[in-house]
C-alpha cells in the first residue's frame, strides 16, 4: 500500500454514527431514530474522547507509527449529523492522527439528507469519497424496504454527489419486487451519472425486523432463491460488460475505484473502530464496543475504554479468517492455504464454481453464491 511510509502498512479508522432519520424495514444494525442536537454533540465529543483513551493505552497509536491510509464514517446514517458536527468529528479524530498523503476518507449518506451545503462542508473537511445508500430507483421497491427516499430524491443525490466528489459509490439491494431489465437500467443510470463503485447486496431477512414480520404475515413475498441467483448473475454479467471489476462478493468498481477501506478489512489490515457498537481490529485482537449509546457515553465520559467484547485471535482463528476473507475477494486464496482434501477441486472447476489460476483458487460469480457452504466445509476441514 502506498502509505507504507515508515515500513508499516497504513491502518484504517472506522467511525460509527448510530443515528438514522427513520428505520428501514430490513435493518438490524445498531442505530436509533431518536436523537436530538445535544445528544449528537455529546456523541461526537465521546468518540473524540474514545480515541484519546485508546491513544493513552497504545504506544503505537500514540507514536503514530502506523499512518492512517483509510477512514470511513458509517452507520446508521452519518449524514444525520449536522455538517459542521461531522467536520468537528473528523477534526478531532482523523486530523489528530498521522495520516498518509493519499488518505481515502469515505462518508456514508442517505440521499434525502445529502444537501449541496453539507457536501461542500464535507469536502472542506477532507472527505473525498461518498457512499450513497440508494438501494433502488423504483418507488414500489423503496416502499417495501421502508426507505423514506423517493426515486427523484435519489437521482438528485446521485447527481449532486458525482458533481462534488471525485469518488462516489452507491448501494443497491437485491430483494423483493425487482424486475431484471428495470434493475439493470437503474444501474446503468447510476453509472452514467458518474459513480465509480457499486455495492450490490442480496437482502437477508433478520428476525425481529419489520420486513421479517411482513414476510411472515404474507404481506411481502421474498423472491425465490432461484430468482435471486439469476438476478445476481445477470447483474454481474452486465456490470462486467460495463467495465466494472467484480472484486468482492458484493462489490464492483471501475478499475482503480475499489474501496481501499473495505479491501483492508478483507486483507486483515488493522483498523481502529470508534463509536457505539463499532468494532476494531487493533493489537492483534478484535473488539466490539458497547452497543447502547447511553452505556457507551457513560463509559467514555468516566474515562473507560467502551469495549463490550474482545476476541483474542488464536492461530486457528487467524487461519480461518484468512481463508474465509480471501475467498470473498477476486484475488482468491493461495492454494497452499487450502486444507488438503477439503474440496474436490477438479469437480468444482468443471461445475463452474471456481477457477484455478496459477497457485490461487478464485471463486466465480456462481461460486460466490455458495460461499457460506464453502466456508463451512473449509472451516470443518481446518479442524
Amino acid at each position: 500500500m502506498e502509505a507504507a511510509a515508515r515500513g508499516r502498512p497504513g491502518g484504517g479508522l472506522y467511525l460509527h454514527v448510530p443515528f438514522c432519520g427513520a428505520t428501514c424495514s430490513y435493518c438490524h444494525f445498531a442505530r436509533t431514530a431518536a436523537h436530538d442536537a445535544p445528544l449528537r454533540r455529546r456523541l461526537v465529543a465521546g468518540m473524540i474522547q474514545e480515541l484519546a483513551l485508546r491513544r493513552e493505552r497504545c504506544a503505537a497509536l500514540a507514536a503514530g507509527r502506523r499512518p492512517l491510509a483509510t477512514a470511513y464514517v458509517g452507520g446508521g446514517t452519518p449524514s444525520q449529523l449536522e455538517p459542521e458536527l461531522l467536520a468537528e468529528l473528523l477534526a478531532g479524530t482523523v486530523a489528530t492522527l498521522s495520516v498518509a498523503p493519499d488518505l481515502e476518507l469515505t462518508v456514508e449518506a442517505n440521499p434525502e439528507t445529502l444537501t449541496a451545503d453539507a457536501a461542500a462542508v464535507w469536502r472542506n473537511a477532507g472527505v473525498n469519497r461518498v457512499s450513497l445508500g440508494i438501494q433502488s430507483l423504483d418507488h414500489r421497491v423503496l416502499q417495501l424496504l421502508g426507505r423514506r427516499c423517493d426515486p427523484a430524491t435519489a437521482r438528485r443525490a446521485l447527481a449532486l454527489a458525482c458533481r462534488v466528489f471525485a469518488r462516489v459509490s452507491a448501494d443497491w439491494i437485491l430483494g423483493p419486487g425487482l424486475r431484471r431489465d428495470r434493475l439493470l437500467a437503474e444501474l446503468d443510470e447510476a453509472l452514467d451519472l458518474g459513480i465509480e463503485h457499486l455495492s450490490l447486496y442480496i437482502l437477508e431477512l433478520h428476525t425481529g425486523t419489520p420486513l421479517a414480520a411482513a414476510v411472515a404475515a404474507g404481506r411481502v413475498r421474498m423472491p425465490a432463491d432461484q430468482q435471486t441467483e439469476r438476478l445476481y448473475l445477470d447483474c454481474c454479467e452486465h456490470l462486467a460488460q460495463r467495465g466494472l471489476v467484480h472484486y468482492e462478493v458484493s462489490n464492483f468498481a471501475r478499475p482503480g475505484g475499489e474501496s481501499r477501506h473495505n479491501r483492508a478489512y478483507w486483507a486483515g489490515v488493522p483498523y481502529l473502530g470508534l463509536g457505539p457498537a463499532a468494532s476494531g481490529y487493533w493489537g492483534r485482537r478484535r473488539y466490539t464496543n458497547l452497543t447502547e449509546i447511553a452505556d457507551y457515553l457513560a463509559a467514555v465520559e468516566v474515562g473507560r475504554v467502551p469495549e463490550a467484547d474482545i476476541d483474542p485471535l488464536d492461530r486457528r482463528a487467524r487461519r480461518l479468517e484468512r481463508v474465509i476473507l480471501s475467498l470473498r475477494t477476486a484475488a482468491g486464496l493461495a492454494r497452499e492455504q487450502l486444507p488438503p482434501h477439503a474440496l474436490d477441486l477438479a469437480r468444482g472447476e468443471r461445475a463452474g464454481l471456481w477457477t484455478l489460476v496459477g497457485d490461487r483458487l478464485r471463486l466465480t460469480d456462481r461460486g460466490w453464491l455458495q460461499l457460506d457452504a464453502l466456508e463451512g466445509q473449509l472451516a470443518a476441514a481446518l479442524g
Partner: protein, 597 residues
C-alpha cells in the same frame, strides 16, 4: 436329599414370575422385611425396567412345613424370552419340577406352551398356577379350562394365586413339597454337575452355577470341564441365598456355585458337565450345545473417538455373556466398529441398551441380519454374516438363508392380519389349530432375515398386543436372494448394503433411495443416490445442489460473528459421516435403518 426340592418357574413376560418368586422368599423367611424390595432376583436395572429376566438367578430357601418338617427349596429362575431357549432348557435340566404360571387375565401364551413342552421333555413335574386372580378382569375359569386342555390335568390340581396379595402362596409351597420329586443321585459316586449358568465376578473370577447330580465337590478340589477340557482348582463353593454363601462341600442333589478363578466365562459354558480331575465320571450329562449367534449387527461408535471405549465395554460384557460374539469390522461409511452376533433380537437389544446405558456409549447399529450359507460355482460353502462381504452374483451358485419355525398364538380375530403380514415376509403357513373357540395357534416357516427386521413389532401392532410369538431355528434353505447396494455418487455405502429377495429388491431399493433423498442435506454438488443389484441400477434419485447460500455483507464487525458461527457449525459437522465426497448426517443412517418395509 429326601427333603430337597429343585424347581423353576415357567411364565410369560409380565405374568408375575418375579413377584411370585419374591413372595416365596418372603414366606420361607429367606427374605426379611427390610430386604423386601420388589423383584429381588432381577438384579440388572434393565431387567426391572422391562419386567423381564435375562439371567437366571437361583436361590436356596429353608422351608418349615406346618408340622415342623424342614425342607430345602432351590428355585432356579429361568430366562423368560425365546432368544434364550438353550439357557432355559439347561435350567430345566437342573430341576425336578416346574411351576407353570399363567396370568388369569391373559391366559396361555405361545412361549408358555413351548417352555411347557420343553419341561415335559425333561420329565419335570408340572404344577399349574393361575396368578393375578385378584384382578377384576381375571378369567380364572377360562384359564382353568385352558390348563385342563393343555395338561390333561384335574381342575383341582391347579393352584389359584395372587402373588401380589399373597393369596395361595402357602398352598403353593405345600404343593412343591408334596408333588415335586426329591433329587436322585449317589453322593459317593464320581462327581457330576451340570452348569446351568455362569457369571463373572471381578473378585473371584468366573463362577459356575451348578446342579449336582452325583458325588461331591470340596474346597480346593481340582475340577475338570468335561467338554471344555479346562481344569481349575475350586476357589470357593457354596449355596445361593440373596448373596452367595460359602460352604465346605456341595453334594448330589444340591444347587450351588463353584468359583473357578477363570478370567472370563468363555470356558465355563452353560450345559457343560463338571467332574473331578482325578476321579472323573464315566460320561457327561446329555444336551450340551454351544449357543450359536443367529442375528448379527454392526455396532459403531457415533463418535470415532469412542472406539476404544466400545471395545472395552464389549470385552466386559463378554466376561458375563458367553453367547455374545464380535469381531472387528471397518466400514467406509461408519468407520471402525464391531460385527456382533446375538442369540436373537432381544439379546441384541439388551446388549445395545446395556452398552449405551451402563457404558454411556452413543452407538449406530446397522440393520440386523442373519448368517447366510453361500455356495460358490465350485460348490464350496462359506458363511457370510455381513452383506457387504457377499461375493458378486457371478461367483455364486446359490445363497441359503436360515429358516425358523415360528409359532404364533392369537385371539381368533387377528388371524387374517397375522397370516397376511407373515406371507408378505415370505412365510409359509404350516399349521393352524383352534386351541379353544377364542384362541388360535398358527405355525409358519419364515426366513429369519424377515423376522429380525420388524416382524415382532408388526405382529404386536396388528394384534393390538395380544398375539405372542416363539421361534426356533430349523434349517438353511436356498432362495433367490440378491445383494442390494446403495450408492452415493457411485460409491457404495457399505453400512446400507443388504441381502433381500429378488422380488423385494426394487421396492426396498426405491424406499431407501427416497428416504436418503429426504435426509441428505444439499451439498455443493448434486448428489446421485442409486440402488443397485450388481451392475443393474433399480432405482435412482438425486439431491440438488445448494441454492443461494451467501452472506452478502461482511465488513469489520461481522468477521468475528461469522467466524464464531462457522466454529459452531463445525461441531455439528462432527456428527456427519463422509461417504466419498458426500456428507451424510448421522441421523440419516439411523433413519434409514428404521425405514419400514
Amino acid at each position: 436329599m429326601e427333603n430337597t426340592r429343585n424347581f423353576c418357574i415357567i411364565a410369560h413376560i409380565d405374568h408375575g414370575k418375579s413377584t411370585l418368586a419374591d413372595r416365596l422368599l418372603e414366606y420361607t423367611g429367606t427374605l426379611s422385611g427390610k430386604d423386601l424390595k420388589e423383584q429381588v432376583l432381577d438384579s440388572m436395572d434393565l431387567e426391572k425396567e422391562r419386567g423381564i429376566t435375562i439371567k437366571s438367578h437361583p436361590i436356596r430357601m429353608d422351608y418349615r412345613r406346618p408340622g415342623g418338617e424342614a425342607f430345602v427349596l432351590n428355585l432356579i429362575d429361568t430366562p423368560g424370552h425365546v432368544d434364550f431357549h438353550y439357557e432355559v432348557s439347561r435350567s430345566l435340566a437342573a430341576c425336578e419340577g416346574a411351576l407353570l404360571v399363567v396370568d388369569a387375565v391373559q391366559g396361555v401364551q405361545a412361549q408358555t406352551i413351548n417352555n411347557l413342552y420343553l419341561a415335559l421333555e425333561h420329565n419335570l413335574e408340572i404344577i399349574p398356577v393361575i396368578n393375578k386372580i385378584d384382578l377384576a378382569a381375571a378369567r380364572t375359569e377360562y384359564v382353568t379350562e385352558q390348563f385342563v386342555d393343555l395338561l390333561g390335568c384335574d381342575p383341582d390340581e391347579i393352584l389359584l394365586v395372587s402373588a401380589k396379595q399373597g393369596t395361595g402362596v402357602r398352598e403353593l409351597l405345600e404343593a412343591i413339597c408334596n408333588r415335586v420329586a426329591p433329587p436322585q443321585g449317589d453322593p459317593e459316586a464320581p462327581a457330576k454337575a451340570l452348569i446351568f449358568d455362569s457369571v463373572f465376578d471381578p473378585y473371584i473370577g468366573a463362577v459356575a452355577y451348578v446342579r449336582m447330580f452325583a458325588g461331591r465337590f470340596k474346597h480346593r478340589d481340582w475340577i475338570r470341564l468335561y467338554r471344555g477340557g479346562a481344569t481349575f482348582e475350586v476357589q470357593e463353593l457354596g449355596w445361593f441365598r440373596l448373596a452367595r454363601v460359602a460352604q465346605k462341600t456341595l453334594s448330589a442333589g444340591e444347587v450351588g456355585y463353584l468359583a473357578t478363578g477363570a478370567k472370563d466365562v468363555r470356558n465355563i459354558r452353560v450345559g457343560d458337565t463338571i467332574t473331578l480331575r482325578d476321579r472323573p465320571c464315566a460320561e457327561a450329562l446329555p444336551g450340551y450345545a454351544v449357543a450359536k449367534p443367529m442375528v448379527f449387527s454392526g455396532l459403531y461408535p457415533t463418535n470415532n473417538d469412542d472406539y476404544d471405549d466400545l471395545l472395552d465395554a464389549l470385552q466386559k460384557l463378554q466376561l458375563n455373556d458367553a453367547s455374545l460374539t464380535w469381531e472387528k469390522e471397518t466400514s467406509a461409511a461408519l468407520g471402525f466398529g464391531f460385527r456382533c452376533g446375538f442369540l436373537g433380537l432381544l439379546h441384541m437389544e439388551i446388549v445395545q441398551e446395556r452398552l449405551e446405558r451402563e457404558y454411556d456409549l452413543d452407538l449406530i447399529c446397522t440393520l440386523p441380519n442373519v448368517e447366510y450359507e453361500v455356495v460358490d460355482k465350485l460348490g464350496n460353502v462359506s458363511l457370510v454374516e455381513n452383506p457387504a462381504l457377499l461375493p458378486t452374483e457371478r461367483e455364486i451358485k446359490e445363497i441359503r438363508e436360515p429358516i425358523v419355525h415360528a409359532a404364533v398364538l392369537t385371539p381368533k380375530e387377528y388371524v387374517g392380519a397375522i397370516i397376511q403380514i407373515t406371507l408378505e415376509r415370505r412365510g409359509v403357513q404350516t399349521k393352524m389349530v383352534y386351541l379353544d373357540p377364542e384362541r388360535v395357534s398358527l405355525e409358519f416357516d419364515l426366513p429369519l432375515s424377515e423376522l429380525v427386521v420388524d416382524y415382532y413389532d408388526k405382529l404386536k401392532s396388528v394384534s393390538r398386543g395380544y398375539a405372542s410369538l416363539d421361534y426356533e431355528y430349523r434349517r438353511h434353505q436356498a432362495d433367490d436372494l440378491v445383494r442390494l447396494d446403495l450408492l452415493i455418487n457411485g460409491d457404495p455405502v457399505d453400512a446400507l448394503t443388504c441381502i433381500v429377495h429378488r422380488d423385494n429388491a426394487y421396492s426396498w431399493g426405491l424406499k431407501l433411495c427416497q428416504k436418503l433423498k429426504e435426509l441428505i442435506p444439499r451439498q455443493m454438488f448434486q448428489v446421485a443416490i442409486q440402488a443397485a443389484v450388481g451392475t443393474r441400477v433399480l432405482a435412482r434419485t438425486s439431491v440438488k445442489p445448494f441454492r443461494k447460500n451467501v452472506t452478502a455483507k461482511c465488513y469489520g464487525g461481522d468477521i468475528t460473528r461469522k467466524r464464531k458461527l462457522l466454529e459452531k457449525q463445525k461441531e455439528g459437522k462432527k456428527r456427519m459421516k463422509q461417504v466419498g465426497s458426500v456428507e451424510i448426517p448421522q441421523e440419516a443412517f439411523l433413519a434409514v435403518l428404521r425405514v419400514e418395509r
